[in-house]
Symmetry: C2
Subunit: 495 residues, 2 copies
């Protein structure tokens, strides 16, 4: 076996272990019986160690070094590049450190759950301090060429640094805060759906599957199931599964979760199949993944033209529902309200929620902010930007799971997703013409084809920023997003 073949064989094996972890993780979140949890945790830990052993094998390191100096096709060289990154990171972290981190994380997760449910930051604080300290240690192991927070940001969106994010976020803040305040001053009354109606789960399921199918999700190569928190997992070639949850009083909650997760699912279903079980065959980043989900959820789903198409499907399942017009539905789906919870936020306030997290993470890792001062810092920003007083930490700095998992640097990728989606939409309009007309035609295949060709089929051939540049002609930037929200919400709120 030549070097090239041996490298690919090792990489494929590594990713087969990852795929099995993914499948058993999906099963755990959806259908596993309760008592199976202990054995599942054990087998997942075993799989992680099997994968890790293969990743830090010095023979793999030697192969990467050899192949880096050779010339092969772009897809192959992208695999070498990605494996270099993964290999270096893995060998830099001592095994004892990895287990210490894993252990601290399990404990922090449990403490966070308790702290959030009791809204008592002091229960979480010592664990958060550990996670911060261990993360600082991790940064040292990985080696820090610029600021410590840059090392963390790079983990979740390769190539993105504080220098890139700062102007993005300040640009957003500069235009979003005034927009928000204008919306708050407007006198638009948001209609309410009748409170006494109930929407049975079977009907919601049928309706949502019809929408997902119309988006192009292939149910012969995927599934929709239920879980506490919706998610999507591209388990295997031709087997992509997403989940949702149902609220009998609010059918829109499930709908937009399904459109969001189907957007992720379409990306997974469109990845280059010839490169399965290797990095270049995988989604390139969290930010780009989020751009696909947000595109379908917001730019397509939260429009009057979407409802023109979807309302008859909804009526098929719920013939007794009131005769809402499309404009009403559009307003209901796009209500703007400064509120406490990120995951329930509208398009205008969402990125401000992210920015609070970004600024606090930057302060922790680059500015010496103490864990004990997080709640007051958080609450002050909410007051300054949203104009609301955080009544308790459950509705404030305890709301998200990420820090308990040591996932510092993750949040900004959500904002990147929103920005990328707007950039893609702008370019798509240039290429395909009036988007409202396309949405209203009910045939969305040309939009999917466009995304397939420019995003999905590229896998991890380029870095995220290069991919966005190649797809839209522009580097990642906030202008298209700001133009989009200003135009959309000025019209909706008659500003």
């Amino acid at each position: 076996m030549g070097d090239k073949e041996e490298f690919m064989s090792r990489v494929n094996d590594l990713y087969r272990f990852e795929a099995i972890q993914g499948h058993l993780g999906w099963d755990q979140e959806t259908i596993m019986p309760a008592k199976g949890a202990k054995a599942r945790g054990e087998i997942l830990a075993w799989l992680a160690s099997q994968r890790h052993d293969r990743l830090i094998d010095s023979k793999l390191g030697e192969l990467i070094t050899k192949l880096e100096d050779q010339n092969h096709d772009d897809f192959f060289m992208a695999n070498v590049r990605e494996m270099r990154r993964k290999y270096d990171e893995a060998v830099k972290l001592p095994t004892e450190f990895v287990s210490e981190f894993t252990k601290a994380r399990s404990e922090a997760l449990i403490a966070w759950q308790k702290a959030r449910s009791e809204s008592d930051f002091s229960l979480f604080a010592p664990h958060l301090e550990s996670m911060v300290k261990l993360t600082q240690q991790k940064v040292e192991y990985l080696g820090c060429e610029s600021t410590p927070y840059d090392v963390l940001l790079d983990e979740y969106e390769v190539g993105m640094t504080v220098e890139d994010y700062d102007p993005l976020f300040s640009g957003l803040k500069k235009r979003l805060v005034p927009l928000l305040s204008k919306i708050m001053d407007s006198n638009i009354e948001i209609p309410r759906l009748p409170e006494d109606m109930t929407f049975h789960v079977d009907g919601q399921e049928e309706f949502c599957k019809k929408v997902s199918n119309a988006m192009g999700f292939d149910f012969d190569a995927g599934r929709m199931d239920r879980s506490t928190h919706p998610f999507c997992a591209g388990l295997w070639p031709e087997d992509t599964r997403f989940t949702t949850r149902f609220d009998e009083k609010d059918p829109f909650s499930c709908l937009y979760a399904v459109m969001h997760e189907s957007g992720h699912g379409l990306y997974e279903q469109g990845l280059p199949r010839d490169h399965s079980y290797s990095p270049v065959g995988m989604a390139v980043s969290l930010g780009v993944h989020e751009s696909q989900s947000r595109f379908w959820e917001n730019q397509i789903g939260r429009t009057a033209n979407f409802w023109k198409i979807a309302m008859p499907w909804f009526k098929e399942e719920f013939p007794d529902c009131p005769d809402w017009d499309f404009e009403t539905l559009d307003l209901v789906a796009n209500e703007v309200k400064p509120d406490f919870i990120r995951v329930e936020a509208d398009e205008v306030t969402y990125n401000l929620h992210i920015m609070i997290r970004y600024e606090i993470e930057k302060l922790i890792f680059n500015g010496g902010l103490q864990v004990k001062d997080i709640p007051s810092t958080w609450n002050k920003m909410m007051k300054d930007w949203f104009g609301i007083e955080v009544p308790n930490d459950s509705l404030g700095c305890l709301q998200d799971i990420h820090w308990s998992m040591g996932a510092f640097g993750y949040f900004p990728t959500y904002t990147l997703g929103n920005l990328y989606a707007a950039q893609l939409l702008q370019k798509m309009v240039e290429d395909l013409g009036d988007i409202d007309q396309i949405i209203g035609s009910g045939d969305w295949s040309n939009m999917l084809d466009w995304l397939r060709e420019r995003i999905h089929a590229k896998g991890s051939l380029m870095t995220p920023a290069e991919l966005i540049k190649s797809a839209t002609g522009d580097a990642p930037n906030p202008e298209p997003f700001l133009d989009y929200v200003e135009k959309k919400y000025s019209k909706l709120y008659r500003l």
Copy 2:
């Protein structure tokens, strides 16, 4: 790490791969989207090769040899004994032979499906010839100390040979054929359920789950799903999953499938958890497994007293169903009819179906029967024993999947299951008293406890025959089964 620890670590890893294969196999049969089949086949083949590489590792062989000469506790020594068997068999088969066999089997499976659907034996014959030839070669590789068929029988039920089976089957035939002919001559009219009734799937599911739960199946440590052919898989510690299928015209078909599979499931749920991921922690044999499923399906489920308990549950789901009395239901559930299809056979004819397959397999491997002569041999036996003419090979020698998979020697374990179940029932009555009264009380926990202690908790500590001897006091034999069927059916058919 000492030898003992290294041995166990290797064994555990091997069985972790097996468990993953099991999980992905379960998923494939139940919920996998259609297009996922190709990737699933590939990953299962990869897992099989990962497992095989670990099994034939000479270091494992050395450890087994060392440990065989040492004294450790019974469970550990049973693991050494079982691994010796598996290791020896695996190293005796050349890798090329294993892949040739696997390839021929896939082709034979496809050919069999086509042959059966078109009822054309000639389409299957050349593939069946290959499977026979490869199996003969396998016997040579494994080494044959007595007859070739003995080598095959031993694969599926360790320790059982032609010398053991011949008297079992001739004993069965001697008393079952006259019993069958007396039943056929009787004038008992079997009542028919009304043909115009429909039993909705949700109600059947609720009812069947209630029955399974009453048997003791723990749904917090297991699931019931759907698949084309019902099966049970003890996937993980505390995660056992069985399947069923629904027929809206016939609620009993699903019920008895569920009782059968729940019986398998109870065995899996009762295995010694301290020995997970090692052979001694697994079910000891196909025959013993089948004894657990048949016990609940037939000895418990197909009785008037069972219906006394279950009818009110059935009525809850289907309040409009007629007021059948328990004796009527008993007769309906136990209709005896010489017919063509094994899987639909009653308790009296079932083992005669198995015996035909046993005799033909014996003739192929020990007597030189040619593949081309199988249909005529089969049809003659059906005529002689059942008194019926096989109209086509789909209803004859093409009905079962086993030969297409090269699983020669498997069928007799079904009969062992029936015999073991009757032996266990006989002993249980000695220990617990009148079984009809227990069934009619609705509290079946003492029966399950009895099986847990004597069968389930033993795992693979002993050989199947030793286990039956230790549980019942008697070696495997057909007398209790024959006494049981003669008594049961004489009463039902008033002979």
